[in-house]
Amino acid sequence: MSRRLHRVGAAPSRTTRIMIFVVIGAIFAVPIIAMVEFTLRAGLDGGYSLGHWAAILDPENERKYRALFVGVANSLVLAVVTVSIVVFLLVPTMILVALRFPRLQRVLEFVCIIPITVPAIVLVVGLAPVYAVVVQVFGSSTWTLAFAYGVTVLPYAYRAVQSSLGAVDVVTLSEAARSLGAGWGTVLVRVIVPNVRRGILAASFISVAVVLGEFTIASLLNRQNLQTALVQVSKSDPYVAVIFALLALVFAFALLFIIGRAGVARSIRRAP
């Protein structure tokens, strides 16, 4: 009797699995390959070259691509401010709720999940009047957009932090630290934060990826970020737009991959 006849449960056979991966993987690889191929095209008459990649570094093109570099810089600033909102506003609130107001846990979760139901395109309709006020208070610099981004990353950031926070008994830990004479500041910085560090890191990485990919709010509030610059530049120089899009996708992949592997390393260490 062959082994196949004895196979029980849901898992597919090795052949089936490989076939599915190869077929679907190949289909999903095509657009990415097409992007790479597109950036290597030498010109309308065919042939390939690295010309478009080299052009990015050419100082002569600096003015042509200025919008793009401004967009990248703006997006990086937005990423930093958004991560600060997550780390200094969301995380302390989540810890406080876990320590002192366990009953508010559900409310907090509900609030943090709302942005999934309220799409960015709807939010932006209401954000326009809000930003009329924000501009008066903080000026019209691009970084103010991070207030809106802080809201759009809430569901992702909340889930990432909560998966760490839920795994440690923060109440017992903080009581132990308090009974040894630690102040609340020490409890927060030296006891709780080290325990949820991975969650905070994951939340920050996901926030960076979301901010770098954000287009809707920036474009409809007339701000410049990486994505709006990509659309703008693609009209005059599609090659360089596709190159930057590829780089951004690879960067986002790297961020998520690092989170994933860090999680694996931790769970292996924890296993008995």
Binding site: V8, A34, M35, V111, V130, Q227, L256, V264
Partner: protein
């Protein structure tokens, strides 16, 4: 003990910054978006904008949005479920799983404009596949006009982010299938087909349809890919909101963006409520 209530008061104050932030940048914009549809330019209450939701043009765009979302959600759910099936039996901590998780995350959540570029490079007029089919087989995919920059053109890019989202949302349910159930079924003489039809499918059904709804909501609300592909016109609801925001002349009615936003929110709330109801049923099996 006397200081306890006072302490609690201070602790409550600690919640204030986040509460204020969420109020200003989530609650206020959401309410404004919902309410502006009920006012005219002079701030008087009117139902003109809401009535505009019944306009033929608006109804057509809602129908297109529904169509695109339904088609890509169904396609994405089926293909995504097949990928999840193939992932069963791979090591949850393995390298392959990490790569697929990260790729899915990138494509499902951060693609937007960049996916539009990818598909212009693939099936655009000068695209890799377009040219290959034309030069090698003489097949012109744009024989009946360039559909990439129309509503049908959204289908491929949308599927490209729907399938990964399905993998992310459906995989936990697939992994919840306990090997013991398969063994128990086999001991009782069930074939693998019987096991799938009588055991696995009923357990997975709520999660599958829940994920399908999430995919629908995802396609219904996504804007960036469509905006980057379709620069002219307003064929789906998010693009119509863009048109209403950018120029105030759509249908000659102001504050239409608010009414459209209200229409979108109603659809989203219905879909997401159904999603969370199905999700609750799913969790029974994931303990």
């Amino acid at each position: 003990m006397a200081t306890a209530p006072k302490r609690r008061g201070w602790a409550l104050l600690g919640l204030a910054p986040f509460a204020v932030y969420v109020l200003l940048f989530l609650a206020v914009p959401t309410l404004l978006a919902l309410v502006t549809g009920f006012f005219d330019d002079d701030g008087k209450v009117t139902f003109d904008n809401i009535a505009a939701l019944g306009d033929r043009v608006v109804l057509t765009t809602f129908a297109s949005s529904f169509w695109v979302s339904a088609v890509t959600a169904t396609g994405g759910a089926v293909i995504g479920a097949v990928v999840c099936y193939a992932l069963l039996g791979t090591k949850p901590n393995g390298f392959l799983r990490s790569v697929i998780d990260s790729v899915s995350g990138v494509l499902a959540q951060f693609g937007g404009v960049m996916l539009a570029f990818a598909f212009i490079a693939t099936v655009g007029i000068q695209g890799l596949i377009t040219q290959w089919l034309l030069n090698s087989f003489g097949i012109d995919i744009f024989q009946n006009g360039v559909w990439l920059y129309q509503v049908p053109g959204l289908l491929l890019p949308y599927l490209y982010f729907q399938v990964p989202l399905m993998v992310i949302t459906f995989m936990p349910a697939m992994e919840g299938l306990k090997p013991q159930w398969g063994e128990a079924a086999a001991t009782l003489g069930a074939t693998r087909l019987t096991y799938w039809i009588r055991v696995a499918a009923p357990i997975l059904a709520p999660s599958f349809f829940g994920s399908l709804l999430l995919l629908f909501a995802n396609a219904f609300s996504s804007y960036a890919t469509a905006a980057a592909l379709i620069s002219q016109g307003a064929q789906i609801v998010p693009l119509q909101i863009r048109a209403a925001l950018v120029s105030e002349t759509v249908l000659g009615r102001e504050n239409l963006a608010g009414a459209l936003a209200l229409g979108m929110i109603i659809v989203m709330v219905i879909v997401m409520t159904a999603y969370s109801a199905l999700q609750k049923r799913t969790e029974r099996w994931q303990r």
